[in-house]
Structure formats: C-alpha cells, structure tokens
C-alpha cells in the first residue's frame, strides 16, 4: 500500500499532507496527555515495532508468504493516537532510509496507513465489541473483523486517490499525467487483492498477536476509551469518504429527473411540471460554471456542502450552548 512518488500529483500529495497536519497535532496532544512525558521512548519503540511488523513475512497457503501493515494491531495495542504517530515515523524511516514509499507521497501514505487504518480498526472494534462485551469469542471475532475492515477502508481510500488522478490531472490532449487508471479500474484493482489476501493476513496476525499478549501480559494492552464519538458520526465519515464514488455513476437517480429528461423518457412534460415551482440553485447539478471540468466541480461541490453543513451545525451548537448557559 506504499504509494511511490509520481503516482499521485504533487497537488494531491500537498493537500493530503496538509490534511495530516491537524491529525498529527491532535495525536501528539493526546499522547502527551496519555503518556505524560514518557512519550518519546514509547513512540520511538512503537515506531520501531511498527516498522518491523511491516517487514515480517507470514506463511500463506500454497507456500507463499505475505506481510501485514500492522496498523490494526498497533492501534489496538497502544491506542489509535499513539499508533498514528508511530506508524507515521515508521513510514518516514521507510521513505527516507529505504526508499519504500515516496517522499512527496509521504503525507498520502501517512493518511492511508497511519490515520485511516488505525482509526478505522480501533473504532470498528469499539462498535463491534459493544454488541457483546462479555463474550471472549466475540471479542476475538471483533478484532478479526476490525483488522479486515481497516485494510478494506485503507485500500479503498488509496484506490480513490489513484482513481481521481486521471479525472483531475490531464495534459492538453486529455491524457492522464499521473496514475492513468480511473476509479472504475483503480478500485477493483486495489480492492480485490486486499479483500481476498491482505485483509485476511492482517486479520489473522492481529488476532494471533493480540491473543498472545492478552494471555501473557494483559496489562500491556491499551485500555479502550469510549470517546464521545457516536457511531452516527462514523457512518457520516464513511459516507463522506465514499463521495467520489458518485463520479462513477452515469445518468440521473430514479425520480430525480429534470424536465428535459422526462421529455426524453416519456415524450412529453406533464403540465403541472411545466408551470410548477422553479428554483435556481447556486450549484445546479453540482456544476460550477467557472470550472470547466465536471469532476473538479463535483468534488468542489461536495467539499462546499460538507463545509456548509458543518458551519450550520457549529452555529446551531453555539446557539444551543448560549441558551443553556442563560437558562442555568
């Protein structure tokens, strides 16, 4: 899953790298709070551990071997925040000293493997474990599923990063400048091997090592902290991540036809619709007149929508807090 340089455009790498800055900042703050100033040796050792986990080969059926990312294991053992920093450092060592994973693409690699994967594993484990917290067998099943989910989500994000390149970065002839495969090719190409092989390796290693440590030294395992994040936010985050999949679709969703489409379909426009209520929105059909590319316009519309919803939600929360304060 290590993306080398030049598969992603420099601007994609810069944007994803910039998105990682607040993540690292939040993780460092959280680690300082959790580990006090024991953090430096802990992070360094866990980075070395993460690095070695990525290097180890495990036997696979048929005499071959494979290796895991170890993101789920590290997240469950030391917590997602410490895992994010330690995997980032391990990726930095790989990029700078072993040429594994690009230097410009470091931010993108860190986003996929140090942020998305550990957090996906950790929170899916919390959600799954809460179904039956007492059952030991269910706990191990939850670990297995969460490790598998982390690989699936990580590879999906990486595939999307690859897949949006030919849509966004083309030369004058319309040919791709970076990764040449669109979403329709990149997603199956990345997902199939990860879902069929890598996901299971990651899941087996995570369950195997976790069970061993739980048996030998249970106090070494990170205590689950149920943060305030509700499952609904996870669902929203997942849907947000899936947004670029809309670029794959063609045509209009059932029941959302415009007047012209209805005319094409049934040959006439019902009278009520001809003289019905008409509203011209700011971004009709997610198109922005200033942007020539429909793909860019779609992504900008998605970002605008999310920012507007978050801003409205923020204003609502401030309003609610003010009323509560006045009331008390």
């Amino acid at each position: 899953m290590h993306i080398p340089d030049n598969y992603l455009s420099p601007s994609t790498c810069a944007i994803i790298g910039a998105a990682m800055v607040p993540v690292w900042s939040r993780c460092i703050k959280k680690i300082k709070y959790e580990f006090a100033f024991k953090n430096i040796p802990s992070i360094s050792l866990m980075s070395a551990f993460s690095f070695l986990i990525m290097m180890f080969n495990v036997p696979l059926p048929g005499g071959t071997t494979g290796h895991a990312v170890g993101a789920a294991l590290v997240a469950l053992l030391i917590g997602p925040y410490a895992a994010c920093i330690s995997i980032s450092v391990a990726l930095m060592v790989q990029a700078l000293l072993f040429g594994d994973g690009g230097i410009i693409a470091f931010g993108a690699n860190a986003f996929n493997m140090a942020f998305v994967m550990p957090f996906a594993a950790y929170y899916s484990y919390i959600v799954l474990k809460s179904i039956s917290p007492q059952k030991r067998s269910w706990k191990h099943t939850s670990i297995f599923i969460s490790a598998y989910v982390s690989v699936a989500v990580g590879s999906l994000i990486a595939a999307m990063e690859f897949g949006i390149q030919p849509l966004l970065f083309k030369d004058a002839a319309g040919l791709p400048l970076y990764s040449p495969y669109p979403l329709s090719v990149a997603i199956p190409a990345m997902m199939i091997p990860h879902l069929l092989v890598v996901g299971f390796i990651e899941a087996f290693i995570t369950v195997g090592v976790y069970s061993y440590i739980e048996k030998v030294s249970p106090s070494s395992i990170y205590e689950l902290s149920y943060s305030k994040l509700k499952p609904v936010y996870l669902v929203l985050l997942f849907l947000l991540v899936l947004c670029p999949l809309g670029l794959l679709t063609t045509g209009t969703a059932w029941g959302e036809w415009g007047v012209h489409e209805i005319k094409n379909m049934i040959g006439f426009v019902p009278k009520g619709m001809v003289h019905g209520f008409s509203f011209s929105s700011m971004l009709p059909n997610y198109n922005i007149p200033a942007l020539a590319s429909k793909t860019v316009a779609y992504i900008v519309s998605a970002v605008t929508g999310v920012v507007l919803i978050m801003a409205m939600f923020g204003i609502f929360m401030i309003f609610k807090r003010t009323i509560t304060k006045k009331g008390s």
Binding site: N6, S44, V209, I213
Partner: protein, 264 residues
Amino acid sequence: MYNWLLQKDNYVPKQDSEAFLSRNILTIVGILSNLRRKQSNSTSWIYRVNIFLKIFFTLVFVISLSLTRSITYAGAVNLYMLSFLFFVNKYERSRIIKLFFSAVIFSIVIVLPSLFFYTSLYNAGLLVLRISGSIMCVNVLVYSCFPHQITSGLNNWFVPGIIMMIFDLTLKYIVVLGDCAVEMFQAITLKSVGVNKEKSKITFSLFGVLFLKSKMYSDDLYNAMVCRCFDGEYPALKGKRFNFGLSDLCYVTLSCLVLCVTLL
C-alpha cells in the same frame, strides 16, 4: 550393539514450508546491514558531500520530476543519478541497481495496461521515467550517506528536535529489536528441524514477545533519560559548521548543470 542401530535408515523428512523463516531472517539482516553500514569503508568523493546539499538537491529533483512534462528531463535525471553508481561502494552499487530495475519493471507492469485505455506511449514512458528517477534520487541519497548523517542533515532543515530525537531513537531500536527478531527466528528454525506444524503459531508469539520487549525497552529508556536529568525538553544540538569543500562544489555544479541544461 543392537541390530536396528546398524540398519540403514531411509529417513525422508516430510515436506514442510520454511521459506518464510529464511525470508524473514534475510529481510531483517538486510535492513540491519543497511543501518549498520560503516563510514570507514568509503573513500569516494560522493560520501564527503555535505548532507544538507544532498537532501536539498534530492528534494529539488524529486519535486521537479513530479512537475515535469518533458521526457528529456526525466531521462536526464535518471542518467545523472545512474552516473553516481561509479562513485559508490560495491555493496551500495548492487543495492541501487537492484532497486532501480525493480522500480522500472514494477512501473512498466503497472503502466502497460493503461496503453490499451489511452494509447499514449509518451505519457506512459514519462510516468515510468519519473517513478524510476525519483526512486533513484532517494536511493542515491540513502546509499551515498549513512543513517546518522541523514538524522544530522535533518537538523540543518530546521526539523524540530523532538522529531529528530524520535527518528534517531527509532533507528537505534530498529537495530536492537531487529537483532532480537533475528535471534528468535533462528531459534524457531533450529526447533523446526524435521517437521514443526506450530511454526505459524510461534510466529504470532514472536510478534507478541517483540511487542513486550519494546515496552520493556521503552520503560528502561525512560528511566535512563530521567537519570540523565531529562525534563521533557529536547533542544536540538547545533549541527557541524558548514564547510564547502571540493566535493560539494563538484556535486552542486553537476546538479545545477543537469537542471539548467535540460530545463532550458
């Protein structure tokens, strides 16, 4: 003497997959030997070039490669980086060549099917050259200096002391934990003479032991740091004075020539 002791024993061991054990040992030994490379083995001028300049020009070449649309420039950078093979030690040379060809073959395999979609040989060739060029740039940097030099080089790039400390400690503990892992893998190999069906299970235990060891080392290191009056502050040591020597001049001139001649 018992008769059965004198009889010829036709022992044919059952087939047992042990490839992953030797592969793990080789991988980790490779990593450790890379991290333990000694400066004393090197006499070439390329090893004397200031690390600040090396990091600077590596970044310049990697960024310019990702921005360029000229196949001539990408090819020139590849050739320039390949020319460094004449100046590095034998071990480093073989490593760089191996990685270069792996990168080229891998990127060709990845890019080849795209020709059926877009039929642009130029763009496909450009992408392959850009990928191999950037991998060469990083490998020339990595194999023409030593791990501790990269850490000290980051100091000149105003990287916060805390990050450098984590980076440096990580490198040191990769070696320590790597040694432990090699010893444990060798122990498993010895215990697996004949047939050992528990190998996979033992491997999980090995990861677990490694995690527990890293926890233990982390506590020891923390105690050692406290004993040495560690108070949570990480002031970065001042780097060496920047001496601009003949090797630095050669490196800068050659790099600027490649940049100017191919870009103009």
